[in-house]
């Protein structure tokens, strides 16, 4: 564990990621600041294409070859983006590790899972004997709630939830201080999701690791995280304590995400699924002004001239919306019965 230092475990400072594509420059991440402390779970929420997975890839400098990254990714105060190759290798796995999205495809189908978990261990502790490696594998599998015997299984012999546990066991193999989990429970059903989330939160509670968890499901993040950052079109639109961002969102986009996962038992949600019309903007052709304005139920003239900056609204709560607290504004009304995505089918 990290002692009380001034530098957080992970800090992103003014991070920009731009992809060079045939169709022009694609600005996937546009000036994101974010911090994760040891023992803390920070959630990043947003739709497909909001830049959240791109952001995760930069943490271990795993971004695609056509990406240009500027800003800083500070791991324990040292910039991962400019680090020497040898130092970066030490940070990967042992400092920070990633649980990738889609465990179902990330495991090698022709290797036993024990061998796959062993790979990073052998790479990072070359002198370790076979018996010790085997012991470590058993320990890791047990830690994620799998029978150590399963080390001999091939991926196809495991269920989706079990594969996801193997991915987590791998991520823990070298005792990292930071775990980045990219949609760790997407495609798992609700009971298995609960089991996997239990494993993750136990990890943070018992071993004091820091965790960055990426998901489109705000309700899962609200349950698990200490803080949530909501991203839209490559920028942070809201940041704050998890429960407050979910229950009482400041930004209209956070509000829409929150309403998309109805509370069972809430009479207002019966026969009234909430959605958000329209698509996120094409990151190659961002609109001027607030990039959410074209879909925003509260958009007004004032949103058009410039992209709003993150501003503080309450203790520990930030949002980037000029309409918050606007006296002429009506309270956020989330569209209950939405019009259809491409026009109203009446």
């Amino acid at each position: 564990m990290n002692g009380p230092t001034t530098a957080p475990l992970l800090a992103l400072r003014d991070l920009h990621v731009t992809y060079a594509t045939d169709a022009g420059l694609l600005r996937a991440v546009r000036g994101v600041d974010l911090a994760v402390e040891s023992g803390q779970i920070v959630g990043v929420a947003g739709e497909s294409g909001c830049g959240k997975s791109t952001l995760a890839s930069t943490i271990l400098r795993l971004q695609a070859a056509n990406a240009t990254v500027t800003g800083e990714v500070l791991f324990e105060g040292r910039d991962v983006l400019t680090m020497r190759w040898g130092d970066l290798r030490a940070v990967r796995w042992a400092g920070a590790s990633i649980v990738f999205q889609g465990a179902l495809h990330s495991l090698n189908p022709v290797h036993r899972i024990g061998e796959q978990v062993a790979e990073p261990i052998r790479l990072h502790t070359p002198g370790l004997g076979d018996a010790s490696v085997r012991r470590r594998i058993a320990e890791l599998l047990e830690q994620v709630g799998l029978d150590p015997e399963r080390a001999r299984a091939y991926p196809h012999q495991l269920s989706g939830g079990q594969k996801q546990r193997v991915m987590i066991a791998m991520a823990l193999a070298c005792d990292p201080q930071l775990v980045v989990a990219d949609e760790p429970t997407t495609a798992l059903d609700v009971m298995v999701q609960a089991q996997v989330l239990d494993v993750l939160s136990a990890l943070v509670r018992e071993r004091g690791v820091g965790m960055l968890m990426i998901s489109h499901d705000l309700s899962v993040l609200a349950d698990l995280c200490d803080r949530i950052t909501v991203m839209y079109a490559g920028r942070v639109v809201e940041e704050g304590p998890a429960a407050q961002v979910f229950a009482d969102p400041l930004h209209p986009y956070s509000g829409a995400l929150s309403a998309a996962f109805p509370r069972v038992g809430d009479p207002a949600a019966r026969f009234a699924p909430a959605g958000l019309p329209g698509d996120p903007p094409d990151p190659r052709q961002l609109p001027g002004g607030c990039s959410f304005a074209p879909r925003c139920p509260r958009a007004a003239e004032v949103c058009l001239p410039a992209e709003p900056e993150l501003a503080s609204y309450a203790e520990g709560r930030m949002a980037a919306c000029v309409r918050i607290g606007d006296p002429t504004d009506s309270p956020v009304e989330l569209v209950a019965e939405t019009t259809a995505r491409d026009g109203d089918p009446s």
């Binding site: 495609a187 109805p262 069972v264 089918p345």
Partner: protein, 339 residues
Amino acid sequence: MTAELSAHGLRVEFATRTGRVARALDGADLIVRAGEVVALVGESGSGKTTLARALVGLLRPAAGEVRWDGRPMNRSARGLKALRRQVQLVLQDPLGALNPRHTVYESVAEGLRIHKTVAHSGRSETELVAQALASAGLRPPEALFLRYPHELSGGQRQRVLIAGALALQPQLLIADEPVSSLDASIRGEILALLLKLREELGLGVLVVTHDLGMAWNIADRIAVMYLGRVVEAGPTEDVLTSPRHPYTKALLSVVPEIEGLEPVVLRGEIPDPTRIPAGCRFHPRCPALASGEADAVADDCRGTRLAILSGEPEGHRCACHLVASREEAPHDPASRAAT
């Protein structure tokens, strides 16, 4: 009369490589009528997709029967074709379900051609395709005719699939996880579309899902499946706000949005359907049995089979020895009717 699709004591078996028989459905009863939205929920492996497929005749049951409008399903090629015009299956994963080399127009028109619907309707194929796309909320429809699936967003693809089903003017839609692969902001719109179709066309919808929040959003009734059987069924409000079966309670307790419920995370996964436990099929994972709460009926839980829950739409029913003992005799007669 109202169109009604029903399963009665349906059993579907698959041979496994080891020679044992996996019983994916083991006595499932369910009724879906035009004009209502029914949610079929459960974990992966509970048999919900198998039941949906058996209902449109894609699987042949080993026992029990499927009825359409009160008559046993006609399994001749012609009979199945007629059934599948009226009962349309909307598959999960819109990208996988659409032919990447077919335009939107082709995808929607395919069903019309197979069923030779154009000749009977007195309208042109183009009109029918346009109408179906418009009903699925894709407007203006002509703008999408020549687009390919890869050019569409996830929500649009799902709408194209729904349009393909609507083109045949079915009475029932069976939608398997219609929103699970979609982004949060699009989910609501697809669900709103299903409700709108029910409203405007009187369509019945069976949604197969593991998402209880979605069931709360749109379903009139809900049936909870476990290991090939419905274990609790009733009006959505009753089942989700006062669940009776320990399995339903556990499922609800782990839905992230629900506050105030102590999460009951069940260990492990649904057992292998080649070895359905004796007695109550849920007993090896049952938190009530494990905690001693069900001590009084523990012998029944471990050794006495439960009756198949009737699929009748009325009432809130549950297949559980503990619940039955608490309700005291005489039991809800409907839950005892079928054996």
